[in-house]
Structure formats: C-alpha cells, structure tokens
Symmetry: C2
Subunit: 200 residues, 2 copies
C-alpha cells in the first residue's frame, strides 16, 4: 500500500499550482509517498488536440475568474501571471537535473518555481530567474544552468511526457493511484476517499 | 436575497444529471428558489467551438469512467445510456410546454426524463417515451405531444439558448447566482459557500 501517488503537473498550469498546495495533505493523511512529475502539457495537447483553457471562447473568461476564486476558496496565495502562459520546458529540465544530482532539492525547487510564477509575478521562462530560485535554495545554480542543456536531462523530460500520454494524462494536475486516474483539483475529494477505501 | 439560482442543464449531460440530484439540497440549505433551465448544449457548442466530452481523445475515456465513479461517489443511481448522446430538443420543448400549461409538473417531468435516460436505459429521443413519462406523472400526454410542435414553445427554447450564451454558459450543469457563474458539479462546494457568505 505504499505505491506513490503519481502527480503530473505543468509549471504553467494554475490548477496544477493549486494542486501542488493541496495534494501533500491528502498523501500525508494516508501515509502515501508522492511522486512529483512535471511534464509539458503542450506536448500532450499536440497529440490530443487539447487547447489552453484560457484561449477558449466563454470558457476562457470563466476559467480566469474560476482560478482566482478557487485559489481564495482553498486559501492558496495567487496572483494571475502578467505574462501567461509560460514555457515550462526549462523549469522541467531544472527539476529533472536536480532529481539526478541534488534530489532533496527537486520538490522545493518545484514549489519555488510555482510560487515565483503564480504569486511573485516572475517570468519563469528566463534562465536567470530560475538561477535566482536555485541560489535561494542553496542549489549550485551554475551547475544546474549547465545541466539544462544536458542530453540526459532532455531525454528524461521527453520520457516523462511520453509516459504521461501512455498513462492517459491529458490535463494538469493529474493524479494516478495504482492505475486509477483523477484529473483536477476537483477530484481530490474522490482521491481522498479512494485512498481511504481502496475504491468503490 | 431570494433571487433564484439559475440552473442550466442539458438533458443529455451526465454531469447535468448529477447536478439535478445535488443542487436542491444546496438551494434548500440557503432558502433559495431554483430556476430549472434546460437548454441545448449543442447549440451553444456551435457558437463556442465546444465538443462533446466523450468524443475527445484520452479525455473521453476518462470522462466515461469519471461519470460512473462520480455518480457512485455522490450516491446517485447511474447507468451509462446504451445510446449516447441523446437529442435533447424534444424533452426541452416538453419542459417549456409544461412550464406554460401545467407548471407544477415541469420539474417532476425534468427529473423523470433524466432518470429515464441515465438510469432506466430509455431512449428520450422518442416522443412515445416522453409521452409515457408524461402519463406516469398524470400529465395530459396528448396535449403535451401537440405542444411539442407549438411555435411559442419552440421560440421559448430558442430564447433560453440565446440567454444561456449571453450569460456565458458553455457547459452543463451551469449555475448562476446573482451574476456569479459556477460550472459543474465540482463547483457546488464553492456555490454553497458563496450562498452562505455572499462571496469572497
């Protein structure tokens, strides 16, 4: 019963950000480890025909309102990014470089990137911003900067994107528990009960 | 504070069906009337470019699983219809004919249509099935059958579809409280708090 909850998220996804604030309490309540898996939702959209939420007629306007309202509802600090969406590829590579070279820092880095983008109005497309975030966490920013161009790191991100598609992931956040998929912050209540009961 | 909750739904929408089971308790808790507003989601999709959920790659398979799981989670009897989606136009016209001619029967008719489609595996495209449902509720099925071709009834449904678009409705179920929009069964928790607090 200790298989990790798979937590797929895109660094440019507002609901993924909310999920990052809420999933740890659910996992802890059931003694489950959590596998953080940043991926590139845009790469998945190329295969599924999905589109960025905020670009859709009517739904886009609703979504922007819903993100702000939902963050406040859940008590999560949130400020809609001035430049949105961000390209999430560099932050993803930073995460997977850390996972290989300074693993205890990977999750703190992910949280700091999310906070920078969705609360501090910083531009996470910029390598300099990611370097500042790294430095603030006592990560070797220079080594990480070089690591962003590492072919192994690029291949790892490519593999996670492929794995996400294979697992049926089409949005962010997306949680999988022993093969059972839960899409969205909206499904954390069902995920919580699923972990408690083993399903229904 | 007694402005009704606007409840837009499509008779062919599984999540609309779940919403119809859950919204009454929320409205009652806050002493709010509820305005049932069946509309044609397909007509809205023609304007917004929306697509039926179950037809989308990956998302469609997930949605079918999520509908069954969500119904059980909420304790709502559910059986995926053998022929899906249904055309909802006739059921909508029946509802609006009742609203004009036998108003106390309109909501019971809506509930019976939903139950017929999402639990009893009946084909709500068929006028004969709607007539049986009407008869079971002591509605004059013959008068309602004639009313389905009534120009006033057709115009009323057309007007509700237009009103829905104007109000930003792009999915089902969709709830509006004094201009504040809530899309989906997933937002009933926020709607509940909104009614309690007047917003945040």
């Amino acid at each position: 019963m200790s298989e990790p909850i798979q937590f797929y998220f895109d660094f440019s996804s507002p609901y993924g950000y909310l999920g990052s604030h809420l999933i740890e309490a659910v996992a802890a309540r059931h003694g489950r480890p959590l596998a953080w898996k940043p991926f590139m939702l845009g790469a998945v959209f190329q295969r599924t025909g999905g589109q960025p939420l905020v670009s859709l007629p009517l739904k886009g306007d609703y979504a922007k309102r819903d993100m702000v309202r939902g963050a406040a509802f859940h008590g999560v600090p949130f400020s809609f990014p001035p430049k949105f969406p961000a390209k999430s590829v560099t932050a993803c590579r930073g995460f997977y470089w850390l996972e290989a070279h300074d693993p205890d820092k990977a999750v703190p880095f992910a949280k700091a990137v999310y906070r920078a983008f969705f609360f501090e109005k910083r531009d996470i497309d910029q390598a300099a911003v990611l370097a500042e975030i790294a430095a603030s966490l006592a990560i070797d920013a220079e080594a990480m900067g070089a690591g962003l161009r590492d072919e192994t790191v690029k291949a790892k991100l490519f593999a996670v994107n492929a794995e996400a598609l294979e697992a049926g992931v089409f949005g962010s956040p997306f949680f999988i528990v022993e093969g059972e998929p839960f899409w969205g912050v909206d499904r954390l209540d069902q995920l919580d009960r699923w972990l408690a009961t083993g399903g229904w």
